[in-house]
């Protein structure tokens, strides 16, 4: 941030998937392990070009999605900022290891580009059917940070955010895109170095003998050294004590679980990202995310033109669900419209939080088509 002239920002005409790569590299990603699947493959392909050229970048195509997540977690433990990307079927296969990453607190970013499901479904059509899966797909109760992006520039920005949250909270972060966002080319602006934050995981600063890898800290997040740096310890997916050794003693298990939930919950305000658009005085508020939020923005403008005080709460964080933001708009909005390319997955969260205050109208589509502005407009005008 010298006083001199600022460098011009670089602009690119890029796919959402390509923007993810730009964001990842800006955030310091040095490891990609993956398995191709439409509509996420471009992330992998561009990584295959870029990472070998990077100082310390490693690109690896694995034999399947399970192996991809294994390699990514391994690389994360070895000190890399690591990521993978996939779509529906691959996301299902990654679930066991997503839970392992939670349990061993391995930071990583998993981008899931949603296509039509269930099963093979509609491989080249958009959907938002994996939202609840991103939260609940792995067995055993756990916390999960799930982010989303609604345009190509946001793909870049939210990927940086995903890495930062992963490193800050020592946790896997899922970034959910939909096929439209991923497969649209738009202009993106690469931020200058002083325009975005990069968070690196905290490493231990005490002598190795005093280091306890899963010890309580103020933030709930223990420091994490890369493997091979002199801090030898045990990592396991079994419930473990502060030393990392397996334990089934209820007190120790409770301590572990409690800390793992708390380390994210206590930072809820920082983790809950959203944008309010014309919300301040809104009677009717649309809650949307992903490419549907684009349609929603337009619909809200149209509704205003027609005299309806409409607003948009665009969610960038899907989980932990931005409860406070929702409650805030429910302070004045008498109705909420929740358009989704699924049968109502975020609308469940809205209803749960709502607690009877406002009318919640879910607007759903599962035929591989985006929800158009006019559909949303119609719903706004009706409620």
């Amino acid at each position: 941030m010298a006083a001199g002239r600022k460098k011009k920002r670089k602009e690119l005409f890029a796919l959402g998937n390509e923007a993810v790569v730009e964001g990842a590299l800006l955030a310091g990603c040095s490891f990609y392990g993956g398995y191709p699947i439409t509509p996420s493959s471009e992330i992998m392909e561009v990584m295959a070009q870029r990472l070998p050229k990077n100082d310390n970048g490693v690109f690896l195509q694995m034999e399947d999605e399970i192996a991809s997540m294994g390699a990514v977690i391994g690389a994360s433990l070895a000190g890399c900022k690591a990521m993978t990307a996939t779509s529906g079927p691959g996301f299902s296969l990654m679930q066991e290891h997503l839970g392992y990453a939670c349990m061993v607190e391995a930071p990583l970013v998993l981008v899931n580009v949603m296509r039509g499901g269930p099963s093979t479904g509609l491989p080249t059509s958009p959907a938002q059917g994996d939202v609840q899966q991103a939260r609940w797909g792995t067995h055993g109760d756990h916390s999960m940070i799930v982010l989303s992006a609604s345009n190509v520039q946001e793909c870049l920005e939210m990927t940086i955010t995903a890495f930062n949250m992963a490193e800050k909270y020592r946790t896997p972060v899922v970034l959910l895109l939909d096929e439209i966002t991923a497969h649209t080319r738009e202009k993106i602006t690469i931020p200058r170095e002083d325009e975005y934050e990069v968070f690196n995981r905290v490493v231990p600063t005490m002598p190795p003998e005093w280091y306890k890898p899963f010890e309580e800290t103020v933030r709930g997040v223990p420091p994490m050294p890369p493997i091979g740096s002199g801090y030898r310890f045990h990592v396991t997916g079994l419930t473990h004590d502060p030393n990392g050794f397996p334990t089934s003693r209820p007190e120790e298990v409770a301590d572990l679980m409690e800390r793992m939930f708390r380390k994210i919950d206590q930072f809820l305000p920082q983790v809950s990202l959203y944008e309010e658009y014309l919300c301040a005085d809104a009677d009717v508020c649309v809650v949307a995310y992903g490419s549907v939020a684009r349609s929603a923005e337009y619909a809200v403008e149209q509704a205003r033109e027609r005299g309806v005080k409409a607003g948009l709460l665009k969610l960038k964080t899907l989980f932990p669900y931005p409860r406070a933001a929702t409650e805030k708009v429910m302070g004045h909005a008498r109705a909420l419209v929740v358009p989704e390319m699924n049968m109502g997955q975020i609308s469940r969260e809205v209803k749960r939080v709502n607690n009877g205050r406002a009318t919640v109208r879910a607007l759903n589509r599962v035929d591989g088509q985006i929800i158009t502005p006019s559909e949303i407009l119609k719903a706004i005008m009706q409620v």
Partner: protein, 203 residues
């Protein structure tokens, strides 16, 4: 990067066979409009089985303001470089939209309201490489679209290409522009001003 014309929403589809360089054409056009001319542009394309079996498709939505819905649905301009593509997409053309054809490859145009050039033959005979066909199309489109400045699009093209094929493509671009000017006549009237609003339409 001023925008010459104020656009509400302008939809273009480039279509044809795999191997004709349709996607590259769309990317260069899109980059030129977005980075060179400063428009909002969204570009999408066909994927999966659709993209095999020899067919290829690339859509652009161009606008001065934010683009709410990034995919093309009601086309202002359809470029069809194969008979199949023409058959498949003609019905998406909006009333008054313009159809541009490869006249050697589209032998049965669905209408007599179209603009056409034998792009492939031109590439072969006048540029010397068939692969430059898409650049000729780019030149022709650049003439046709009133919001495109030839100079900006040409330099946008040049910056997208590796040095060794830059010259030949510049030549192709110019050829396309020139021939379009000669063959297509005036730029379509309806595109000149701000296109009418399409309120309530299912965009």
């Amino acid at each position: 990067m001023k925008q010459g014309v104020n656009l509400e929403r302008f939809e273009i589809r480039l279509s044809g066979l795999g191997g004709q360089g349709i996607i590259t054409l769309g990317r260069v056009l899109g980059a030129g409009l977005a980075l060179g001319h400063g428009y909002q542009v969204t570009q999408t394309q066909s994927y999966g089985p659709e993209a095999r079996g020899g067919s290829s498709r690339c859509d652009l939505v161009v606008s001065s303001g934010k683009i709410s819905y990034p995919k093309a649905q009601s086309l202002d301009l359809l470029v069809a470089l194969s008979q199949e593509a023409c058959n498949a997409y003609y019905s998406f053309l909006k009333p008054g939209g313009i159809l541009v054809l490869e006249t050697d490859l589209v032998r049965q145009p669905p209408t007599n309201l179209y603009l056409g050039l034998p792009f492939t033959e031109m590439a072969a005979s006048k540029v010397g490489i068939v692969q430059a066909m898409n650049t000729i199309v780019l030149g022709a489109i650049s003439y046709l679209l009133p919001f495109v400045e030839q100079r900006i699009m040409r330099s946008s093209l040049q910056s997208a290409l590796p040095a060794k094929i830059r010259d030949v493509n510049t030549k192709a671009f110019n050829l396309g522009h020139r021939e379009a000017k000669r063959e297509f006549g005036e730029q379509p009237e309806i595109w000149k001003g701000k296109p009418e609003e399409r309120e309530g339409s299912d965009i």
